[in-house]
């Protein structure tokens, strides 16, 4: 994924700052709680939510099982419709393809529709290195880009910023990217939106190349689908002469009929809307209408590795609604940046280690960035059992060993022996009770425990011994 995330410290380390940043936590708490409450209402309106969820799960599982077949069908359909399909095994290859396509147009500027896939591969940075400026046109992405910041939420990348911070970013930075912010800009949302509109309009009207991702690709017709809320994406998809779409291979669905399910579940899960405000669909090219040249870059970048894992592959069902982020108590306190990836929150905790492997410090720590409370599984519109995958990935990390895990394994082994010998357990409990005034602070892990909490007082007698005295 993006180079900016390389060398991230482990999750607990990265989360520290956010946990103690009062403003950030308040911003996150307010935003996630507002949207989670709205989502609950929007979902409760549908009597058949459980069936829709199951249908979404089945469609995705079926597609993943026959992924090769559907991708080939998609390629044929896109080609027949006048588009060109490119296959990219990893981020570097995808970036190379896109940069080459842009250069071939002779242009040095592109407008972008908000897309997770292009962020995942660090496309903007790669284009910049080739002398090409990529302009984000989604309002929140624009805030992140202008602020030289990193996104911290899938749907609302600037969720960690409040209005005052956004005003400052607009005022200080818009000028160096294009049309400057109007004088005397306040933090009033309407004024902020107007400033962004004026700034972006200039970009839309000038752009000859647009770059997007896609929420879905329909295999039977070669149609790509983008869901968005602002209409800015539609401008990028229709105004430029060349359109390049970079899409993860797992985004394909077999038929139009399948969209019916996600048209209902995606907006309700993500923005709590009954219907998505702007749904754009395009199939290849059409004479004298929209982009005259269309390229689809199909991105693997670790996805076939995830697909090979029987438990972990369910993460590829994800439709990036971000509902799991909004209910996650860990995300709410740690913030999106701590996950060291463009995919934060519960889905990030299972997706990043699968796409990137578990060798780095951050990726080895992500499967533990959860209390396994299960709230994410409950809201996920495609029923990804995130806790199950987390535990599965923990097994891999523990197996791999390394920092911290050798000691842990030894402790677990020792405890395992005691727990397999009840007499030894009872003796240990008795010894602990007898000396209980002396050592509670020396229990393993006690340091991390007692930094913020008291340890329980050890009782004078274990239950086991009480039973022996009173009931036998």
């Amino acid at each position: 994924m993006s180079g900016t995330y390389l060398g991230m410290p482990s999750f607990p380390e990265a989360a520290k700052e956010a946990v103690h940043n009062v403003t950030l936590r308040a911003n996150l708490r307010h935003a996630t709680h507002t949207i989670r409450d709205k989502r609950a209402l929007a979902v409760a309106e549908l009597a058949d939510w459980a069936e829709l969820r199951e249908a979404g799960k089945q469609i995705k599982d079926h597609t993943l099982r026959y992924l090769d077949r559907y991708l080939e069908q998609l390629e044929t359909a896109v080609t027949e419709a006048g588009g060109t399909v490119h296959w990219a095994a990893d981020a570097a290859e995808a970036n190379r393809i896109v940069a080459g396509l842009v250069k071939a147009t002779g242009e040095r500027e592109v407008v972008k529709v908000k897309s997770m896939a292009t962020q995942e591969i660090g496309l903007n940075e790669a284009l910049e290195a080739e002398g090409i400026s990529a302009y984000e046109t989604d309002l929140a992405e624009l805030i992140v880009q202008l602020g030289d910041d990193r996104p911290s939420h899938i749907l609302v990348p600037a969720i960690h910023r409040n209005r005052g911070e956004i005003r400052d970013i607009f005022q200080d930075r818009m000028g160096s990217w294009g049309r400057p912010a109007p004088d005397g800009l306040s933090d009033n949302p309407t004024e902020l939106a107007e400033a962004a509109r004026l700034h972006l309009r200039e970009k839309f009207l000038r752009a000859k190349v647009g770059i997007s991702g896609a929420n879905f690709m329909v295999a039977e017709t070669g149609t790509l689908v983008v869901f968005e809320s602002e209409g800015n994406g539609r401008m990028c998809l229709t105004l430029p002469e060349t359109l390049i779409s970079v899409v993860g291979i797992e985004k394909v669905v077999p038929s139009w009929r399948d969209l019916e399910v996600f048209l209902q579940t995606l907006p309700r899960s993500s923005t709590a809307e009954r219907m998505n405000p702007y749904t754009s669909m395009w199939t290849g090219t059409a004479d004298a209408d929209g982009p005259q040249s269309f390229h689809l870059v199909l991105l693997d970048n670790g996805r076939t590795n995830a697909l090979a894992d029987e438990v972990g592959r369910q993460a590829l069902r994800c439709i990036r609604c971000s509902a799991c982020l909004n209910v996650c108590p860990v995300y709410e306190r740690a913030g999106g940046h701590a996950y060291g990836s463009v995919y934060p929150g519960p889905i990030g905790a299972i997706l990043s280690p699968q796409l990137r492997g578990i060798q780095s410090e951050i990726d080895a720590s992500l499967p533990y960035a959860s209390s396994l409370c299960g709230a994410c599984y409950e809201v996920c519109p495609v029923a990804i059992d995130i806790p199950e995958v987390l535990v599965h990935l923990r097994e891999k990390v523990a197996d791999q060993g390394g920092k911290g895990h050798r000691l842990e394994k030894a402790a677990i082994k020792a405890a395992g022996w005691v727990l397999d010998h009840p007499a030894a357990l009872a003796a240990g409990e008795r010894a602990a009770s007898r000396t209980r005034r002396l050592h509670p602070r020396k229990l393993p892990g006690a340091g991390a425990w007692t930094a913020d909490r008291e340890l329980p007082e050890l009782p004078a007698e274990s239950f086991r011994d009480w039973w022996k005295r009173n009931r036998t």
Partner: protein, 241 residues
């Protein structure tokens, strides 16, 4: 009726009072209680931390310890959830269907919601993630508390949010865990209740630990954490002390 008590390792070592309360409560309701001494730990901490191989012998031990009992009752939602949801993944299918969390056993098997308890306090109930989302205990604990004489139940704001314990999460991500716990404690204090009650002593160990640490800055707050079994076992003749 004869049942096996699965007291759980946390209760055995740290909260024997909850085990004793469970025994008294069940006996008061006419249930004969056994404590198979071969039991130790259900394997949840090992399993959740990623030590699958080390979990297997504990699953076999636990299953063997409770062989022959029609009902196995435990005052721990998370251990019941471990047995119920994860044992089948290891090929153990008999124990899960016979294992009941305490409030589930009282309401579903014994068919009682009024257990004749007396507990003259204001109480707020924290449902705990495993009880809530894996066992789907729903209204059972609240119904039991509602029927307790002298008890006033207060709704806990953000009740469904995790308290931040999460087993080894409490140590591996201590700062986030404590931040979650502090929010839980703040919500509980806002109810004005004097007891925060739950069905899982591991969550209560974490919440109680924070409560005692925060008790200094929150001077005068009488709130304490207590297992639901301790409340349900309390009677006018033998009140909880």
């Amino acid at each position: 009726m004869r049942v096996a008590l699965f007291v759980t390792c946390v209760n055995d070592a740290f909260y024997p009072a909850t085990g004793i309360a469970t025994v008294r409560l069940l006996e008061r309701l006419g249930v004969e209680v056994d404590f198979p001494a071969a039991q130790t730990c259900c394997g949840q901490p090992q399993f959740n931390t990623g030590y699958r191989r080390e979990t297997e012998p504990l699953i076999r031990r636990t299953t063997r310890a409770f062989e022959g009992y029609e009902y196995v009752v435990t005052p721990s939602g998370s251990c019941a959830a471990m047995v119920r949801d994860h044992y089948p993944k290891f090929g153990e299918t008999s124990l899960p269907s016979r294992t009941y969390e305490l409030t589930e056993f009282l309401v579903d098997v014994l068919g009682v919601t009024d257990v004749g308890a007396y507990f003259p306090h204001t109480v707020t109930y924290h449902p705990s993630c495993h009880g809530l989302r894996m066992l789907h205990l729903g209204e059972r604990p609240r119904k039991l508390l509602d029927a307790v004489k002298g008890l006033e139940l207060r709704e806990l704001p953000g009740a469904e949010e995790c308290c931040g314990f999460g087993g080894t999460f409490a140590v591996k991500n201590a700062e986030v865990s404590a931040a979650m716990g502090r929010d839980k404690v703040r919500n509980a204090v806002s109810t004005g209740a004097d007891v925060l009650c739950g069905a899982d002593n591991s969550c209560l160990m974490h919440i109680g630990g924070i409560l005692r640490r925060e008790a200094v800055p929150m001077k005068g707050v009488p709130l304490r954490a207590l297992h639901i079994a301790d409340i349900l076992a309390s009677t006018e003749e033998e009140p909880y002390v």
